[in-house]
Symmetry: C2
């Protein structure tokens, strides 16, 4: 296991990540939505990371971190903790880089995400979310194998990789002569939000970046209020299986409390409605955790009043049963 001194990531790190990901990650399109624009009275774009490799933005951060591992260290592989999307991102990056990968995944992770992680060639080690410490399990595996831990969010290079989502939003808007007034993104540990904030605020300091969470898992909202990293009351139980981090990351919170500073939240029912809306109106498959920012927009929680708005749809790895439940809600 290697340790690096932690430092805060910068907008330049995001630019460097974009160069590493060029031709490897999908440059997802920025889609102007006529229906959302009409409904909200604003110029609304969506950024469907659902179309990213492995079905979520997570591939960006994982690959950006892992491609920087020295060739000599690659045979020992990587270890990651994830309920599913980071797992697949790490597994895909490991496959592309020819590295072994072990994923420590809770027993209650969606079967779809578990199966896909295995299909990408990773080894899956299960644990019980309530009684076991995933970080301790992962650290033990890393120690035993000499493998490198790839954190899901609290790592400068992981954050920089996720930030390329924001960089692409800025570039695609700029190509149309636009700058965003508001960028809204889903958040769990806050890595995507931090990366996006770095890319957005360095180019449009006046733009608002809003971090969107499921109700009951709104640790960022609490943390922004107190100025300290606050923990969610419940460790599990959200409909949004992708957004279960117990509290903001250390590094991500340093970035987010400065550059973001505001959060919005929605109920499970509102998230289910947003998943169904994406099906009906956007023709996009979005998982519950990927639809939280969209739900915040639809429910009027983002304080949109005209201007240019970008909403990140962060993932689309939803199983049939959950999706059908959303359509019928």
């Amino acid at each position: 296991m290697t340790c690096e001194p932690t430092r805060l990531p910068t907008a330049a790190d995001v630019d460097a990540a974009a160069a590493r990901l060029a031709g490897i990650a999908v440059r997802t399109p920025l889609l102007f939505s006529h229906v959302l624009s009409e409904r909200m009275g604003a110029r609304v774009f969506v950024k469907p990371e659902t179309l990213q490799r492995t079905g979520s933005f997570k591939f960006r951060g994982a690959y950006n971190r892992m491609v920087q591992i020295a060739l000599s260290a690659r045979p020992a592989g990587v270890v990651a903790c994830s309920s599913g999307n980071h797992a697949q991102g790490v597994a895909m990056a490991a496959r592309l880089l020819g590295m072994p990968a072990v994923i420590v995944m809770p027993h209650d992770a969606p079967e779809l995400k578990r199966a896909r992680t295995r299909a990408l060639g990773a080894e899956v080690v299960g644990y019980d979310r309530a009684s076991e410490d995933r970080d301790a399990i992962a650290a033990a595996i890393a120690q035993a194998r000499g493998a490198i831990l790839v954190p899901p969010y609290d790592d400068p290079q992981v954050i920089a990789g996720q930030g390329t989502v924001g960089l692409e939003i800025m570039e695609d808007l700029a190509a149309q002569g636009l700058q965003p007034d508001l960028v809204a993104t889903n958040a769990s540990g806050g890595g995507l939000a931090a990366g996006i904030a770095l890319a957005v605020k360095s180019r449009a300091p006046q733009a608002r970046v809003v971090l969107c969470e499921p109700a009951g898992f709104d640790d960022h909202a609490h943390s922004f209020r107190t100025g300290m990293r606050e923990r969610n009351a419940a460790p599990t139980g959200s409909f949004c299986d992708a957004l279960l981090a117990p509290m903001p990351g250390r590094i991500t919170f340093e970035v987010n409390r400065t550059l973001v500073g505001e959060a919005a939240s929605v109920s499970d029912a509102e998230v289910a409605h947003a998943v169904a809306y994406a099906f009906r109106e956007l023709k996009l498959v979005v998982e519950p955790g990927g639809a939280v920012a969209l739900a915040c927009l639809l429910e009027g929680r983002l304080g949109v009043s005209g201007g240019t708005v970008a909403i990140v749809l962060s993932g689309g790895n939803v199983d049939e049963a959950t999706f059908i439940r959303c359509l019928r809600a």
Copy 2:
């Protein structure tokens, strides 16, 4: 009702249509698919017209035709026959152009498509597919109101509008230094196929354009074999409600027998599987009729052997019940 002398559309008509549609229609992205490329051993792109205004490519042809109606003729409006996607395309174009629209729609059209056509401000007139002649009904309405008929496919300007799908495919591939070896598209009356063929073959004469149909509604396949426009045995009953034209159009067939000349077909079960595949792997919502070309690809009916392939996903207007049936098939 106005009559124009019919002539065959050209690649230049498609270019002119692109200029009329710029900033009005969505320029849908051309998405490289890693999963389809790995599976097929080729460089596979998808063109999701599901993301077009009104959820299908039909808006392109309707607007391109209707924007050329003289201002003096606009107050009398337009009339169109459609089971749903052309209806919405015409209704949206009419709304944007400030024209009244009457849509003659079969009683068995999907409720979703009927409701959306009404929501766009069009008047819907029902008819019985088995016992009534929709063309006669539409002609009578046009006569009575002095309205202009907007044909779903057999019109040079409608074909030219649909052809912008092919033009965008060619432009986006060219930007990556590529030309297609094969472009596959769904077909009913053949307007989309004809337009795409004009755009593709004028730039890449060696490229194959393959027209994809549901089994039992493969009138183009029969017609290509005999060299004459052949009629489907059944007038209705396909799972693909968007692809129920009884036979190839007169103008479209003139174009398609020269520039296309080959067809592929798939069963309803294969189409349902493709809809589910698009959900799971592409994270896109595609209606049955929009997934026929994808189904032909997945079932190995396109004779793909490497190279660069583009698959058109022509529409995403599927109701919940039908979509759920596909996911469970």
